[in-house]
């Protein structure tokens, strides 16, 4: 479904990605791991078209993403969360989640401009439908009680769930999560891990997961890709990757 081929990215003198190749098959949960600065987030930003790619290609369902502008990526079926949580801070939780569906409801959004200006029934109905869909997602992620609160005012763990709800609102086929459990407590980690595992069965989603929490990644992933200094050093089932000598060397001295 997703195929990264020889992807190369440079920032000035630094080569952040040095010919990285890996595939993500439909329905899989793939873990993307590696020490700090390995290039994991950079890979996400390439797929999101936020960073320029200097070499190689990224194919999604057979189509090169490099020809697409960033705002088309969601419409093609790829959603993501951010390592440092990027929410619409002054909007309510409900509005954050509703905006998540923008790529999906795009055609309507443009037509709704005039409909809403004159408060036509059709526009109000469309708005109601979006709100209902968002309400369902918020219920699933335990956000109902804060639906009308401003995103900025909420604690970190809640903000992470808002971001996940927003990403799911686009009804993606590929969901990219950048460190979804970082900064969460034990109970929250268990809950979210269960949720991510559940996504696979229920929604038939494909998930690409960046995470430093080893037990979590090894536990949920069907396959793990390891990066180190912008190079792919391993790619395989969690059990094999865990015992790979090169992976152990890369992680030596760093917490794992």
């Amino acid at each position: 479904m997703l195929s990264c081929q020889n992807v190369r990215v440079q920032f000035g003198g630094i080569t952040a990605l040095d010919g990285v190749t890996f595939d993500v098959a439909k329905g899989e949960i793939v873990g993307l791991i590696g020490p700090n600065g390995a290039g994991k987030t950079t890979m996400f930003n390439c797929i999101s078209r936020l960073y320029p790619v200097h070499g190689g290609d990224i194919l999604f369902e057979g189509r090169s993403l490099l020809a697409e502008p960033p705002h088309r990526i969601a419409t093609l079926g790829i959603s993501r969360t951010f390592q440092n949580v990027a929410l619409f801070d002054t909007l309510t939780v409900a509005d954050n989640v509703i905006l998540g569906a923008h790529g999906h409801a795009h055609a309507h959004a443009k037509r709704r401009f005039f409909g809403e200006a004159f408060r036509l029934a059709s526009a109000l109905r469309a708005e109601r439908a979006l709100a209902d869909e968002a309400a369902e997602l918020m219920a699933e992620l335990g956000l109902e009680s804060v639906a009308q609160r401003t995103a900025r005012d909420l604690p970190f763990g809640t903000r992470k769930r808002i971001e996940l709800a927003r990403a799911l609102a686009a009804r993606p086929r590929l969901l990219m999560l950048d460190e979804p459990v970082a900064g969460l407590n034990h109970a929250e980690i268990d809950e979210l891990t269960g949720f991510i595992r559940g996504l696979k069965g229920r929604r038939g989603l494909t998930v690409l997961l960046v995470e430093h929490h080893m037990n979590m990644v090894m536990g949920v992933s069907d396959k793990v890709v390891v990066l180190d200094f912008g190079r792919r050093i391993a790619d395989g089932p969690p059990a094999a990757v865990k015992n790979d000598p090169e992976v152990i060397r890369a992680y030596l001295g760093t917490a794992s």
Partner: protein, 354 residues
């Protein structure tokens, strides 16, 4: 205080609904009354209030861009000027009916704002401010340009006649223009409020809050910003068009960079990202300079400056921010009284947010 909002019972919610409805009815009555008062004023007062209504439209436009969209424009006076000139030229050179010139001015500014905005919105805050500043500085020079003097009247500008009062209405031309401006403003404010409450408002604010997240959910951020720029310029341009009718004159020096700066002052004092803020801002920029003149003939700018600093210091979120806070206090007070009265009866605690 927040927990109180969640713990309200059904009776409380009903009572709250009544309080809210009473407040909004009172607001509407107050607005209608306030709008009618100038009709009994002196011709000069009517003229002044018409300018307030016009400024409110201009500020609504700028607030869309700067308050909601987060893009600073230091040159919106230019769109005000282009709107005014469009109306003046259409009436003077082509005898176009004056009411028809208003949408024309709006469309011209919409196109101009969009075309200017498309490249400009890729600039970051400070550079965008500079680019718009340049626009504001350049316009008076362009208006004086010899090549288009046949239409613009060059440095002389264009004088217009007062439009006649239609249908034999018992109004003076000034009163009629006040009504026209008020009707246009009412329509534009209602449209802006509806749009900003719905999908479009969400998109504009989303792009301001986090461009990266906005593009990740499928929003074309550059297009959104340029479109916001266009609509903002359109509203400010329509205000300019109305001002040409009311002032009956347009000249290159009516639209200097000082106008752009006052518009910016208006939205900050009135309240950023607030529809009602435009009205308060308009009252400020119309009356405070005159007031300053009355206080000190010698140094009116100094008085104006002091009033400005004090207002920004006392009301960091503008007049509308202050009112919002007062309203929240009032509701909290109602809630507190209500919860005191129910604690005497045995009630089941309601679940948060249910």
């Amino acid at each position: 205080m927040v927990a109180g909002a969640f713990d309200r019972g059904i009776a409380g919610a009903q009572r709250d609904g009544v309080a809210r409805r009473a407040l909004s009815v009172a607001t509407v009555v107050a607005i209608v009354a306030a709008c009618a008062i100038p009709l009994w004023g002196s011709p000069y007062q009517v003229f002044q209030m018409t300018l307030v209504v016009i400024d409110a439209i201009a500020l609504l436009g700028l607030n869309l861009l700067t308050g909601y969209g987060g893009q600073i424009s230091l040159g919106h006076g230019a769109f005000f000027g282009v709107g005014a000139y469009t109306t003046a030229v259409l009436i003077h050179s082509w005898n176009v009916p004056y009411l028809l010139t208003l949408p024309c001015a709006g469309l011209v500014c919409l196109a101009l704002g969009f075309v200017f905005g498309l490249p400009a919105v890729r600039l970051d805050g400070l550079h965008l401010a500079l680019a718009t500043f340049a626009l504001g500085v350049v316009l008076p020079q362009v208006l004086k340009y010899k090549g288009i003097e046949a239409w613009t009247g060059g440095v002389q500008g264009i004088s217009l006649e007062k439009p006649a009062v239609p249908f034999g209405l018992p109004l003076s031309p000034d009163q009629w223009l006040y009504c026209v401006a008020l009707a246009v403003a009412a329509g534009l404010f209602a449209l802006a409020r509806n749009v900003m409450r719905g999908a479009t408002g969400r998109v504009i604010v989303g792009v301001r809050d986090s461009p990266v997240a906005a593009s990740s959910v499928g929003i074309d951020t550059a297009l959104t910003k340029a479109a916001t720029f266009g609509v903002s310029a359109m509203l400010t341009g329509i205000a300019g068009a109305l001002s040409a009718l009311v002032v009956q004159f347009v000249g290159p020096d009516s639209f200097t960079i000082f106008l752009s700066i006052s518009l910016l002052v208006g939205i900050v004092v009135g309240g950023l990202a607030s529809i009602s803020g435009a009205v308060f801002g308009a009252l400020f920029i119309q009356f405070v300079p005159n007031l300053a003149d009355d206080v000190s003939k010698a140094a009116p700018s100094a008085v104006y400056g002091v009033v400005l600093i004090v207002s920004v210091y006392l009301m960091p979120y503008g007049v509308s921010g202050l009112l919002r806070k007062a309203k929240a206090r009032a509701f909290a007070w109602i809630d507190a009284r209500h919860s005191r009265s129910v604690t005497s009866q045995p009630t089941k605690p309601t679940k948060q947010g249910s």
